[in-house]
Each structure stands twice: as C-alpha cells, then as structure tokens.
Symmetry: D2
Subunit: 349 residues, 4 copies
C-alpha cells in the first residue's frame, strides 16, 4: 500500500487499481476508476487479448492477459473483479492473499463457504473486501430505506420487484444468480432484515440448462412478503420495485425519465355502501409526490466509497458480510428452485 | 320463452331481463341490458331497498327487494346475477329451476360441485347458462388467442399477468376469488388449455381474514408457466399480461390509452463477444406493432352474446363448463394458499 | 317556471329540460339531465328523425323533429342546445323569447353581436343563459386557477396548450371555432383576464375550405403569452396545458391516467461554471406533486350548476358575458387567420 | 496534414484533433474524438484554465488556454469548435486560415455574411468545413426523411416540433439561436426544402434581455407549415416532432425509452352520421408501427463522418452551405422576432 501510505493530506496519492474482466460490466468500472480523482487505473486484465485494445486506447493504462502481473505489482493496491461469477472466489482469494484490497462484482461468490473464506482472508490481513451491490448506492433505494426507517410508510405490508428485459442470455448461470442479486440486495437493505425462508420457481425456455425467468418469494419476519420476478427474456425493459405500507406506498421505477421514486399517500379508508349485508371498504389514493433525488451515478458513488474505505479503513456499506447475506438468500433460492419450488428456510441450504 | 316467441317485425321481441344485485358491477349490466335493442330490462332486484332508487330513475324499470317476484314473472326470460360470489349458486339454481336463462358474474360459484349442479340444471331444462368472464369478449384477448393459434408467437415460453389497484377491499372473499378469476379465464382462453397444477401464495395485510394480495402460478402442459399477481392494495392501477413466445412477444396493457396490445418482434439472436471462454448471446428487440383493435365495449359484446345464445340456443363461449374450469383452478389455488403455497394438482382439490 | 314552483317532497320538483341536437355531444347532455335528480329530461329534439330512436329507448322521453313542440310546452322550463354552432343563435333566441332558460354549447354564437342579443334577451326576461364551457367545471382547471390566485406559481411567465387528435373532421367550421374555444375558455378563466391582442395561423389540409390545424397566440396584459395549438388531424390524442411561473410550473394533462395535474417546484437557480467570461445559469427541477383531485364528471357539474342557477337565480359561472368574451377572442383570431397571421387587437374585430 | 499522410498498415494514421471549448458540449466531442479509432485528440483548449484539469486526466491530451498553440502545431489537422456561438466565426476563420479542417457547433455563425466567408475560405484551401447539426446523423431523423422521400406518408400536410426543458439559461443568445437550430436543421433535412418565409414570436421571462421561449413558424413551398416551440424554461423535457401526411403520420419522440419513432397508419376516412344536414367525416387511426432503429450515438456518427470527409475529401452532409441555410432561417426568424412577429421572407433578412 505504498501508494496510499505516501499520502499527504489535501493530499493523498491516488489508489492504484487493477480491473480484472473487461466484458459487460468491466468497462463501467474502468471508466469510473479512470475518471475519479482518488484512483489511478493502472491495469486492465482480461484473458481475451482482443478485449484489451479498447481500454488501452481509452484509459492509457497497462493491459495484460496474465493476472499474476497484477498481483506482483506493488503499485496495485486494489483489484476490482468483474469476471463471470464462477471465477470470483479464486480471483478474489488470490488478490487478498497478495495483499490487495478487493471489490468483487455481485454475487460475491457462488458458494456460502467460499464467501466466508474471503471474509476471513480480508479480516486477517486487514484489507477492504467489498461487493458491488450497486443499488445500495442508489439515491432512490436510499430514499426508500430512509422513508421506511422514519415510519413514513407505516407498517410494511409487502413489496415486489420486477427486473426484466430482453438482454444478455447467460449459459453458465441462471436469472436467479445473474439478475436477482440486485433485488435481493435492495430488499435486505430497505427492510434492514434477513428473510426467514424463500421459495423460487423458474422456467428454462431457451437452452434447457438454466432458468431464463424466475419468480422468487422472500419471507421476511413480521409476515412481510417480498416477491421478485427476474428474466432476460421479456419484451419490455422493467426495473421496478413497489413497497406497500399501511400509511403510504412507494414505487421505484428505475427506467422512468421523470423521477424514479413516487410516494403515494394512501388516503383514508372510505366506508362504501352497504350491500347485501356486507361491509365494503374502498381505498382511495391521495396525493402523489415525486421527490427530487440527487442524480449522481450510483456506480461512481460505489467506486468512491471503495476508495474511501481503503484510505480510512472503515467497513464498506456492502462489505463481505453483506455479500454473504445475499448469497445465503441465493443459495436457499437455488435449493428451492431445484426442489420444484419448495419453501426453504434460510440456513437450511 | 314467451317473450322471445312473441317476436315481431325486424322481428324478435326483446328478451325480458331481470338483474339481481345493484352494487359494484350490477349498474354496468343494467346499463347494457337497458340500451341493447334485443333486451328489455324489466326488473332490478337488490336486498337493499335504498339501492333501487337509481335504477328506477335511470332505466324506468320495476324494482324489488324480493327475488321471488322475478321468478314468478313470466315476462322475465332471463336473470343476470351480480351479487356477492357466495350467493351465486342459490340465486342461479333458483332461476334455472324457475325456467329462466341465467348469466352469472364470475366466479360461477364458490364450489366445484355446485357449479356442476348448475350445469346439469341448465342442461336438463335446455336453458342458457353463461358466466360473465368478460375478458373473453375483449378484442385484445381475442387478438392474443388468434396470434397464438396462428403460430405467430412461435412456441409459448411463459406468460404473466398483473392485476392490481387501490380499490375495493373485500372482507368475504380474498383477492384470489375476487380478482384473479379474470386472469385465470384469460390464460385458459388464450392458451386453450387447462393447467395441470397450481401454486398460490398470499398475504393478509388489512384485516387478517382474507388475502389482499396473491401470487399464483399455473403450470400448463408443455412446461408453460403462467404467473398471476393480483391485489387490491397497490398504488398503481395495472391490468397487464405479457406472453413470451419463441418468435414474438405480446404485451396487453388494458389501461393504456394508445393501444392495448403490443406485438414485439424478437429479432435474431446475436452472438456476442466471447469472454473468458464463455459464449454469450444477446437478444435484441425488433419492430413493435400496435395493431388497431375494434373499440366495442367487451361487456356489451358479452350481453349481446347472452341474448343471441338465448335466441338461437347456441352454447355461450363462456358457458357453464367454462366457468367450471376456472372454478377448478380457483379451488386448487385456494387449497395451495391454505397449504402455505404447496403445489396442488388440478382435480386434487 | 311552473315546473320548478311545483316543488314537493325533498323539496323541489325537477326542472323540465328539452335537449336540442342529438349528434356528437348531445347524448352526453341527455345522459346527465336524465340521471341528475334535479332535472327531468322531457324532450330530445333533432331534425334527423332517425337519431331519435336511441334517446327514446335510453331515456324514455318524448322526441320530436319540430323545435316548436318544445317551445310550446309549458312543462319545459329550460332548453339545452347542442346543435352545429351556426344554429346556436337562432335556436337560443327562440327559446329565450319563449321564456325558457338556455344552456348553449360552445361557442355561444358565431357572431359577437348575436351573443349580445342573447345576453340582452336573457336579462330582459330574467332567464338563465349559460354557455357550456365545460372545462371551467373541471377540477384540474379550477386547481390551476386557485394556485395562480394564491400566488403559488409566482409571476406567470407564459402558458401553452395543445388539443389535438385524429377525430371529427368538420366542414362548416374550422379547428379554431371547433376546438380552440376550450383552450381560450381555460386561459381566460385561469388567468382571470382578457387578452389584448391575438395572432392566429392555420393550415387547410383536407378540403381546402376550413383550417384543420391552427396555431393561436393570445397576448395577455403583463407580457403573458398563451399559445394554443389545435387540430383534428394529428396522430396522438393530446389535451395538455402548461403554465410556467416564476416559482412553480403546472402541467395539466387531461388524458393522463395517473393524475391530471402536476405541480413542478422549480428549485433554485444554480450558478454554473463560468466559461468564456459568460455567466451561465442552470435551472433544475425540484419535487413534483400530483395532487389528488375529486373525480366528478365536469359535465355533470356543469349540468347541476345550470339547474342550480335556474332555481336560485344566481348568475352562472359561464354566463352569457363569459361566452361573449370567448367569442371576442375567437372573432379576433378569425380575423387574424384571414389576414395571414397579422396581430389583431381585441375589440378591433 | 502530415498526420494523415503518414498513414500505415490498416492503413491510415489517426487525424490529429484539437477541441476548442470545454464547457457544456465540448466534453462530448472530446470523448468521441478520444475513443474513435480514426482520430487522435491532441489538444483541448479553453480560455478557462480550471476547465482543463478534467480533459487532461480523462484523455491524457495536451491542454492550453492559448488557441495560437493549436494553430501553430502541424500535428493538428483539424479543429472542433464548441465555444459560445458569438465566437464561432473568429475561431473557425483562424483555423481555416491556418490550414486546419473545421467542425463548428451549431449555429455555424451568428451572421449570414460571416458564414459565407467561412465557406469561401474552406473552398479556397480545399479544407473540410462541417457544422455540427447532429440530428441529421440521428437514425430517427433519417428514417423520417426516407419515409417522406419514398412517399410512404403521402402528401405532407404540416409538421411541428417541441424542444423544451428546464435547463441551461443563456444570457448572450436567445432560445431561437440556442435551441431551435436543431429543429430548423431537422425540418430542412426531412423536407429537403428551404422555407419561403418565417414568423417568430417569443417571450423574455427571466432577464428581459433574451427570449427564453419562442414559437416559430416556417412556411415551406406547397403550403407546408412547420411550427417550432423551443424553450429552456419548461417543466418537462420534451424533444418531439410530428409529421402529418395524407397517408401516414410520424411522431419522433427523442426521449422515449421504448422506440423513438412511431408510424401511424391513418386508416380510411369514415363517413359519419348525417346530422342537421351536415356531412361529418371521422378519421380513425390504424395500426401503429414502432420500427427498430440502429442505436448508434448520433454524435459518434457525426464525428466519424467528419474524419471520413477529411480523409476522402467528400463534402460533409452538414457542410458549410447546410449551415448557411439554417443560418438564413435563423436570421429571418430573428428579424421577425424583432418585428413583433411579422412574417419575413427568406432572403429579405
């Protein structure tokens, strides 16, 4: 950590960063670590040499197909990993063992035990381990958590999320592992709770090997249901979460061009006409508020937070334990999926 | 059928209709049977005398709080029943026994056996028995069925429906029985198939007695999943169904003001860059077509079809068997709901 | 006013109404006067006998092709006129002379002088004369006026309106006279002011005789511009008005399904970076509020207000003078249209 | 043009580019010229030294506050100018005189005569002069032009455009010169014609010196009206153009997330009911098509086209004459604006 130690107040030398994996998401990390004042993107690594021409031209950084180059370079203080999920553990463990801080894209690993190994490695070496649950750095998601915590929504009844589009078809992991980590991360964060059990159903449409669409239910304490629908085989691009409370409701639409959060004042119950001896109630909506949210890019927030944690030693918001909790939900969900949708208690996986 | 036989001129006399139940939906039936040339709305019956002032003024028809008046009147050839679901069987059976044709709002009854009784009663007496699955008379729904039948969508992968709003809270029946019959009816109709099994989860938010929100999965032959989300406790009014096929996809948005059906041409698979030895495919969408649909009111179509069936003796599109099939799905779903979401095979209920 | 004097029971006898003109808009008036408790729809008159079958069946009222029948009937206290605009004056004058209260659809007449004649006739006979500027009974429009009056928007900078669709092509009057009266009525109402001058341009696309599309500018005191775009030859159905003030802005979208009024908090001016010695300011939007508005049908409000004015003798909100002011704007606009878009001062027409 | 001549291999050396002006739009040009394979961004120049830190870090290029540095550098083959409009002429003329190819942001200059000087300078020196009318490189705009040229829309009746937002308030130029050049450029391009006359009205809301909102009408040959509404003081971000033809209509919504172009099949005229002796026609819409458009960034297309023109010597699509035509429309519009909206013939300015 020579680079960081050689800091000076106003002041600090930028953190030397190596990015591993320049596929779908890697370019976004590279762009941010290149443009942030606190970091110095020194390496982009990809096993595919052809993928390296672009980052070389765009960022003027070193490139390599050999991860060992990065681990051996003392100027690299931190490694950002944006490779396929199944490689996360091996790459992250090697980086930690080489004394590098690590930012891993979601999911942290594919296995709960492996995640614990990474957590322990980072703790032993006093290194920052962070997982890229980028939505926890999103001002809309933070608004929802704050509203829930402040009691503005009243009791939480249920929430549901839909994250679908016509997009990248993956053949090595299913829609649960590829897409739903976002929704799980958001749900755990806004409710500040861990589900007790899960149930997951899915359908293999394209290649018969992985689920292209999944329907997932998280059972939180207090009878709060969170339902998640994720798919990469859908006509419309939707990224939407609804939280229904006893006082207010929130819809978070991440693709809205006008304002991503809408707060619905539910208004009072109104007793309707009595017909056939049966009481009927009618809910009616009240005012709707679209709050102004700060428009910073969540990924930039995440990257800046990673740099700040490296410098200060503070725990990241999305630290290894955070990634482990999401992973526990994923593992139980996968078990449910393989058991034809049986309910699976967390910890049983 | 004296009324019908006493035809004249163009030439048939209008069918004498009595409406039972002037609550939420009844006024719509009354308006249609009043305005259609082929019918004569003679009675509106409601146990609540106060509810009868409005139909009397609007339609100039007789009103009564006593159902027996209607059954005894030979000028009444047919009875339309828009009362709470738990009263459907008794009222419909009495009408059939009195020799009246019957249109019952959905669900046909609350019990599979009772539905069979109604079917048998109608058959014995050669009377028309029809259930008000109004969406099967909706041009958007018919467009979807035709597109599927013509193979335009290719193989059907899965479909899902969301029917939620902030609306009538019911205390005697849950969201499954109150709202989902529409989605079940549409799914069975467009796929022209019956599910093999179902799974239903729900949440009791408001009063602890009935589910205000349910998530229902229908398992159709051929590994086709249909997922249904229904709630009366939701900030946004949504009535949307998506059908995903191997060639095209359709979104039917019933609250859209521009065109309720969108047909998405899926375009070709596009092989993406090979990264980390893993093949990735990317789907991309093609043209979108919003077909012009005829704008007739589905309920008017339904009412006219009822009149036509009475006159001609043809079986209604949504006949008793149709209503029974929806009921079988509802019954199995209710059993799943009461079994904490266990999968329930149809016929096992 | 025999009918009204013969009050009874809850109190007053319903006002006997005759509707003249059962074409595009007449059915809506008939429906409301039929369903309102305070009125008794006794007649529907149309010169086309075939048009009368529907109202006879729907409302059970008398019908006639002879307007004289209505004028001679003492049970008719008021006449609602929904005929082509060029016939308004003759029909309304005859009704007033026969001692009937009169509701005329917009525009009141085609000529300023004729409008004054109607006003004078009503005043002399102490009769209610009302023009059907229905948007002044719309809760969204009233919200805007209240917000402006309360100073909530700050200084009004400008407003603009678009009212276009693919709809009824008229051959006797142009889009200015057919569509824009709504926007003019709204503008005069929300600003509570009369423009000093107007400018109108248009295009004759279909038949070369009347303008299918017009662009109209109203110059209000205080340098407030109101721009209106009206057309019946447009792909999208739009009914939208925007009011820009120094503190807040309002968009009123009459075809929105979520809430017709949006109030934009403009937020503070933010001084941007200084570049090239030039100060740049950047406006940024703040919270958006979608207020809950009462959902009553504006036309029902209008009809009830007409009945109330007849009973109480109060001046209608949209009285003859109101209709005359709109007409003055229309006449000046027509003169501008015929002068290739020259600016025309009000009163100069 | 040493840089270009020193071609090699695949074969050509990248074109050395200097960007002048790193304010609002400059960073977009810098990003593209940095990332395109055919160009080498060598300089970013801005009179504000503080603005230069960002491009230095992001692109690793030289920076300067002295334009003379660029003009003297033989490695700079071309200059891209993104400074305030009033500086365009001086900077562009100097670059051309120094033998550099020039890309100028819109508007080309503030004066017709100055534009002609630039055109002549470029012609004399055989240099590429291009103006950044970026929408002519937009696939949606190209689709519209192709549809018009192919006769798909039938006769063109009229078009209108709205380009408003709450954005950069300018104090040196008004909304006509700042925003409307886009709409004028699009209109001239899709119609492939020059207007005969213009009329422009506006309102000075904020500082009393420049118009924050303008309403502009272009009168094209064949009685085709194009109406343009531009403002930087508006609650909603709108970038929309509608073209109405006798056979079809197109709406181009640049902020739509689903597809930017919609083609409306107008359907047949339908003769309505005859009422009051007046024939009424009713238009009804037919199918709507949302064609798939290629999603390349228009600015990238523009930059690549500039490079290609430099290499090949071909005339740019948006060459100096193109920029001059837009300028002629702007100049006539400005004269109309200063004459209280009088109609001004093109060439009269």
């Amino acid at each position: 950590m020579a680079a960081v130690n050689a800091s000076s107040e106003a002041g600090l030398a930028p953190v030397g960063i190596a990015l591993v994996g320049y596929g779908y998401w890697g370019p976004n990390l590279a762009r941010n670590f290149h443009s942030l004042a606190g970091s110095d993107l020194r390496y982009v690594v990809d096993s595919n040499a052809q993928a390296l021409a672009a980052p070389q031209r765009l960022f003027g950084c070193a490139t390599s197909t050999d991860y060992a180059d990065v681990l051996a370079d003392p100027a690299v203080a931190a490694v950002a990993i944006a490779t396929p999920a199944r490689t996360h553990f091996t790459l992250a463990a090697a980086a930690l063992r080489a004394g590098k801080h690590v930012l891993v894209e979601k999911p942290l690993t594919m296995d709960v035990g492996e995640a614990q190994v990474l957590i322990d490695l980072a703790a032993e070496r006093n290194l920052t381990l962070m997982v890229g649950h980028v939505f926890e750095y999103n001002p809309a998601v933070r608004y929802i958590r704050a509203a829930i915590e402040a009691g503005e929504l009243g009791d939480i009844y249920y929430l549901y999320s839909r994250r679908v589009n016509l997009g990248r078809v993956q053949s090595d992991i299913n829609a649960l592992w590829s897409i739903a980590p976002h929704d799980i991360s958001i749900a755990l964060y806004v409710l500040n709770a861990l589900p007790e059990a899960v149930r997951c159903q899915g359908s293999r449409c394209l290649n018969g090997q992985v689920e292209d669409v999944i329907f997932l239910t998280l059972y939180f304490p207090g009878n709060i249901i969170c339902h998640i629908h994720a798919s990469w085989l859908d006509p419309s691009k939707t990224r939407e979460m609804t939280v229904v409370g006893s006082r207010k409701m929130i819809v978070y639409d991440d693709v809205s061009t006008e304002g991503k959060v809408r707060v619905y004042d539910k208004g009072a119950f109104r007793k309707g006409d009595v017909t056939y001896g049966d009481f009927q109630y009618k809910l009616h909506s009240g005012d709707i508020l679209i709050p102004r949210l700060d428009m910073r890019e969540p990924l930039q927030e995440e990257c800046a937070h990673f740099l700040e944690c490296i410098r200060s030693g503070q725990r990241p918001l999305t630290d290894g334990e955070n990634g482990l909790r999401v992973l526990q939900v994923l593992a139980a969900s996968q078990q449910s999926l393989e058991s034809d949708g049986a309910k699976v208690a967390l910890g049983a996986a």
